[in-house]
């Protein structure tokens, strides 16, 4: 049995060669800057209402080969980038973390493991911890130690990506502390100020209304909470830029065709990278959503950047 809303614009099996006509109207269109009814889809221009379904089709197509393709496309570099992202995040015991657009779980699993490591360390050093607390009954202390257990929620708009993620979690023996939720980053189904941190890795450029997604990120973060965004950015060095462009446009779609039998989806992925704002512009957009102390770090000569902002 499969429950599908009659207004569901996202097909689970993308029909071959057909156009996606999104017949459902958007529930809210409150972005003040949204005066145009078209938007970029890679290098193409599409009606704004269609972007979500088109992107959905891309990721449904690539979901099963997503992790292999990441390795092939980035020469394994994506692992280093994600490692740096989680290192920057510096997870702590009891952290409540939200990983958005992280369907296959790469970042979420790393964060969860880091939280669990921190919690293990805490348990092994009770003397240090107790010294900072006022005099308590032993029972109370135990209760307090058990109260704040870290939790990572993996959030994605695409069901196929989440399914791949769940399977990977099972294969790696990860279960406790991990939750899976489907939804739209522009309208998060979480209460205000419930998260310590929010990551989005290689996902924000696919969101139709990025400002809405940033505002939602700001809303669900607690005071002092941190947003970290890992995303492809602009390479400034001319020579590196040429090599990068040549590799992106000539090699990646071909690999996509050979390995994933889907050149078009990888063409979209490569094009969507070029359409994303540069480091400074993206930092400004993050500030526009209310984040403070916004900074960024370039990795691999600007091929990717990690943007950071705090809710203060």
């Amino acid at each position: 049995m499969r429950l599908l809303s009659t207004t569901d614009p996202l097909p689970h099996q993308p029909p071959a060669g057909s156009n996606i006509i999104n017949s459902s109207s958007r529930s809210s269109d409150t972005n003040a800057e949204d005066t145009e009814d078209v938007i970029d889809f890679g290098f193409k221009t599409v009606p704004r209402q269609q972007k979500e379904a088109l992107v959905g089709q891309v990721f449904s197509n690539v979901a099963s080969s997503y992790d292999i393709m990441n390795d092939l496309m980035s020469g394994g570099l994506h692992r280093l980038w994600k490692h740096r992202l989680v290192e920057t995040l510096a997870p702590f015991a009891g952290m409540q973390h939200l990983d958005v657009a992280g369907g296959t779980g790469d970042v979420a699993f790393r964060v969860l493991r880091a939280i669990q490591t921190a919690e293990q360390i805490d348990r092994q050093q009770p003397q240090q911890w107790q010294a900072q607390q006022p005099q308590q009954q032993p029972g109370q202390q135990q209760q307090q130690q058990q109260q704040q257990q870290g939790a990572v929620t993996v959030f994605d708009i695409n069901a196929e990506m989440l399914e791949v993620g769940k399977q990977r979690a099972r294969a790696q023996g990860l279960a406790t502390g991990l939750s899976w939720v489907q939804g739209n980053a522009e309208q998060l189904p979480f209460p205000d100020a419930c998260m310590d941190s929010y990551t989005v890795a290689f996902g924000i450029r696919n969101v139709t209304d990025r400002h809405a997604a940033l505002c939602e990120a700001h809303r669900v973060l607690r005071r002092g909470g941190r947003l970290l965004c890992l995303e492809f950015s602009q390479v400034s060095l001319p020579l590196l830029r040429q090599v990068y462009d040549a590799y992106s446009f000539n090699v990646i779609p071909k690999i996509g065709g050979l390995v994933a039998h889907d050149e078009a989806s990888y063409q979209y992925l490569v094009e969507s990278i070029r359409q994303f704002p540069d480091q400074e512009s993206w930092a400004d957009q993050i500030r526009d959503a209310g984040f403070k102390a916004v900074t960024y770090e370039n990795l691999t000569g600007g091929v990717v950047a990690i943007h950071s902002g705090f809710k203060l």
Partner: protein, 72 residues
């Protein structure tokens, strides 16, 4: 382990994506319901589908509800 039912601990952390108010879990229909708006969001294999466009107006689809319950 096959988690076909929504984890209650997760339920406590979820709200309606539109109204940002708590949801009621109907285990039989596998729906997360916002009673105020009369909207139900599906839960499939323990995963809540909380996109606003996945929400179904319940009072308008009383018939469909009956049909869904009949399927397995």
């Amino acid at each position: 382990s096959t988690a076909a039912v929504l984890d209650e601990a997760l339920l406590a952390k979820l709200v309606c994506p539109l109204a940002k108010t708590p949801l009621r879990y109907d285990v039989e229909q596998q729906l997360l319901i916002n009673d105020e708006l009369g909207v139900g969001y599906p839960v499939v294999n323990g995963v809540p589908y909380l996109m606003p466009t996945r929400g179904r107006m319940l009072h308008q689809e009383g018939q469909e509800e009956g049909q869904q319950a009949g399927h397995s």
